[in-house]
Symmetry: D2
Subunit: 335 residues, 4 copies
């Protein structure tokens, strides 16, 4: 049994995390934090938790959190996370960080894309990227794991095996992603006001989305070479799910069979990646920790399609998968 604290518990990833942990036989949630005044009961914020989790949201210091919990899931936004992680680690806790703070390994890139200096530069570059399908070996002993972004997970799981096998040209990659609205978080914005985004699809942050360097960094590791991507995210009128369509130039003579075989072999032992023959819909992986992947060749170009639930495999499910690996529980527990 592991004692768990969740920081920034008012958002959607925290809610999803709580729901997963409530069915985890080895997890005990001992603290949920927020800066909300008055210590509201967690069920006041998330009515679906009524009768399921009897805790109040507390405004605790990192030291207090570390004193109470063995493992801390930080659902704080980027910037904020890096200011508390050092104290949590010093207090003896292990941390799964949902923010982007420890994902990028380059401080300049972080400063450029996130518009701020990093608050904990000494750890940058030394934290495993918590995508077990690529970096499982680094996770069991890590005090701190950087939980991947939702778009990056979906794009990387489709492309990494092909880049690793040198099947596609690393300079030719286009990533066209479509995401449900929960990915934009719980903070009120006009763009996610129901009558604005319902019954409508739009691209956003074209060429400027912060997941771009994250995708490139991890794909470069997989390729053993610099990878550059054109990344276009779109907002789709649905609660959850990401579908990513990628386009790239073959680096060699390729058949669809070869593509699919490469994916199948790469993921043969993976419990949460399903290489499927059909064209997957996001609903197939909704409320699950699966990522569905397929590939096609269209007029000589490689097209991959991958889907996942942005709140599960794209966030909280992945976090629990990392937690399971960190603490030696079976990797699929509660997932």
């Amino acid at each position: 049994m592991t004692r768990i604290a969740i920081l920034g518990a008012t958002g959607y990833t925290a809610l999803e995390l709580i729901k997963i942990l409530l069915r985890h036989p080895e997890a005990e949630i001992v603290a949920v934090t927020s800066r909300q005044e008055g210590q509201p009961h967690v069920a006041m914020i998330h009515p679906t938790l009524s009768g399921r989790l009897d805790l109040r949201l507390e405004d605790l210091s990192p030291a207090e959190v570390a004193a109470r919990a063995e493992c801390v899931f930080s659902c704080l936004p980027h910037g904020a996370s890096a200011t508390v992680v050092p104290a949590l680690l010093e207090g003896g806790a292990r941390v799964v960080d949902f923010s982007a703070d420890y994902r990028l390994t380059d401080l300049d890139s972080y400063a450029e894309w996130y518009g701020q200096k990093h608050a904990d530069p000494v750890r940058v570059g030394k934290v495993p990227y918590g995508l077990p399908e690529l970096f499982r070996a680094a996770i069991p002993d890590a005090p701190l794991v950087a939980n991947p972004g939702c778009y990056p997970t979906c794009a990387i799981l489709a492309l990494a095996p092909l880049l690793k096998a040198k099947l596609v040209d690393p300079q030719s990659i286009i990533v066209d992603s479509k995401s449900g609205v929960s990915g934009a978080g719980r903070t009120l914005k006009l763009i996610t006001h129901y009558p604005e985004c319902n019954e409508s699809i739009a691209a956003y942050n074209v060429g400027r989305h912060r997941h771009t360097p994250e995708i490139e960094q991890i794909l470069s590791v997989a390729a053993g070479d610099g990878v550059e991507v054109i990344f276009t995210p779109h907002l789709v009128p649905m609660d959850r799910g990401i579908l990513t369509t990628t386009y790239s130039q073959p680096a060699t003579k390729l058949t669809e069979e070869k593509l699919m075989q490469t994916l199948r072999e790469f993921y043969a032992e993976e419990p949460f990646v399903r290489v499927v023959d059909h064209l997957p819909a996001t609903k197939d992986s909704m409320n699950t920790n699966f990522c569905d992947v397929t590939a096609r060749i269209v007029r000589g170009r490689v097209v991959t399609i991958s889907c996942l639930d942005n709140l599960i495999k794209g966030a909280s499910g992945a976090a629990v998968q990392n937690f399971n690996i960190m603490y030696g529980y079976p990797e699929t527990t509660a997932l």
Copy 2:
């Protein structure tokens, strides 16, 4: 041709009004107002108006508005409207008021339900309720018309003919309404944040919704007797549309045929009320100024079902219908 100003032009009813007026051959929009800083172009606020209306949002005084426009549509919220209407009228403009400020005829009731003293008490009770199907005669010469609420229009059009004909007991009425999310306006709230209200239905303001006294007041006029209603609004995950189901006790021996015949005769000459045999869906009247009405007898109780588009017949379409009557244009122009 009539020169028109629209106050509070950033909201959904104003947008819908602009779209209707753009196809009105006798309407020229000369001013759109808002307290937004910097006088943004209307297409910055409502991108769908790009290339269709070349005006900036101005922060004008009522006197300035009245100097420029003959007819003013006030889409200001309740409370605010009553503070500018007197000056508009004094400036010589005629006004269609979307707010609730001039709908209730009783000052105490206004104070009780709207939680404030009325800013223009002398006019209260002297302003026609702009539901042409019931009060057409009062509209042509009115300097000021109180445009009805969306829920009231839907409930009243179903029930008024039955109450007028003494077919149902005025003390027995239950009004169960279901509305799309645009009815809640454009102000950001958690309840209308997409991931909160999408894929979910909930009742709200049970027993406390401000449209209750409005429904009762107008139905009492129709009944010639005090009417009391239990009113329960629900928020439905769709952009537009209200469906209202009412339940009441027959006041006399009744057949379904008699019910339908009463409705048919009452609306025989009405261009915008369709008495239909089938069970209407809100989509049937979406983007139109129609209200669809039908009635059934179930186990001896009267059940009516009525539908309309909350932004058209429930707001901006009704306002243009009133405008047409006020200015002697054919009532269906642009609708």
Copy 3:
């Protein structure tokens, strides 16, 4: 460990049932049936089950099913279920029946509402209605349990405690229900074609819905007196969830506090009914086996609001709850 077969496995309730049973430590799915030709793999029909359940849909006789499974969940439609249940029971299996065939205790009522003679009349009236909150004692030893309808569960859980306590007049009850589209099943119909029902709400089967006699029968048991309801179902543009608003006359002097206290006491020990102070949204119980209930007094009338997930507490979750009781597993297992 119990061996389980699922009949009629192509529909939504079967899919949901499979997903629940896959996380049930004491359930092993050994057969899934359908009359589909060619024995397609279950993942061909339900892609979300890819890699999770490796079975083909078989066209098995009841005897074959009973030979293979200890417990059979019949997701067959009404009429069909009653033709196979006798042979399943004779073959030694126990059965949870999702259809309406064994819910009504009166053969004439069945014939009237379902338009056919009952195929297994001898069992009618002897089968427990599988709503544990009211009839738990009858379930552990039952060879056959009639799993309740989705609308009835939602209405009954709100009203039964009030009728049992003689707080409301049994002749005054109005049940206005709003359901997501999955309740209409997987068979293609124009009414559930996406562009028809999306962004629209409509009533259907007003006064003629087959769940009417089921609600009345069970509420009459609770009231110890004949109950008559006006039942109006509506189709809401969302996948899942039912919200039911009921209206009734108090049978005695009542306060809101008394209402809530009655509900709270009735469900004090129930794991799956949450009596809540706030107005519940269907999303609060989505993907859970909870039913959320609250009550208000509005202008002297009793208003209840209850919500559940029509595929879980309204169907497959309830079925597993019954299964757990029948086989002596903790009632909340896998739920």
Copy 4:
């Protein structure tokens, strides 16, 4: 005034066409056809037309149609249209054809993509492609106009100006399109059954969609050179709207300003193409005949984004635009 017949009037494009023509001062709908038995009233099929169009669906021969109407809009499916168009033209009617039958100019390509021999080969290649923005001059005198496909319109309007100006490499084009569900028509299919496609996005017909050769053919005309595209359509959970994101290699040194200026100049006189600076959402052009277009340069690649309403500018609005040009009415009438 022009007398109009609509063939295949039960579908969504026909419904939208009727709604537009009802507000067209110079159009009189004199016949609507269908093979439905019993000549149902048009309002039985499309309840939204109740009280707006008093016609029955008739099963008329082409000769009967041509005897009654001057202009025929054929909303028949591909294959069927080509079997009636010759007789309509011989009967003296002019025709706007919604099907793909007269869009492709190459009979082999038609046979390959549509899986059948063409029923009217002599006309193939002589029919103007009814995209006024590119081929306006050919439309006024044409007896028959091939109304463009929805996806092609959206892709072509974004890319044609860039190809014509030799700004992008014609062999490098990727077209990633996202469409609302009405684009899949009114025929019942599992993929458009509400609980299947709601809250889900998926790609379909990857590399095999029939709009591919149509896009290539028209873009080749614009480029004056062979154009090849990778086209990937996706189904998005919304009623209407297409958003198309394209990716291509610059053919020359390019700035974003140059791209936008090229688009702006090309469409300077066009009433229905809006070149916008912001990233457009499909809702901006919903229920209008506008196509919104913008362009960006991302990491040296050209990205265009274009939006339209698939039922209006992508079908029925375009058809009325063509009709207006054919009959000499102002091009924007009723649009």
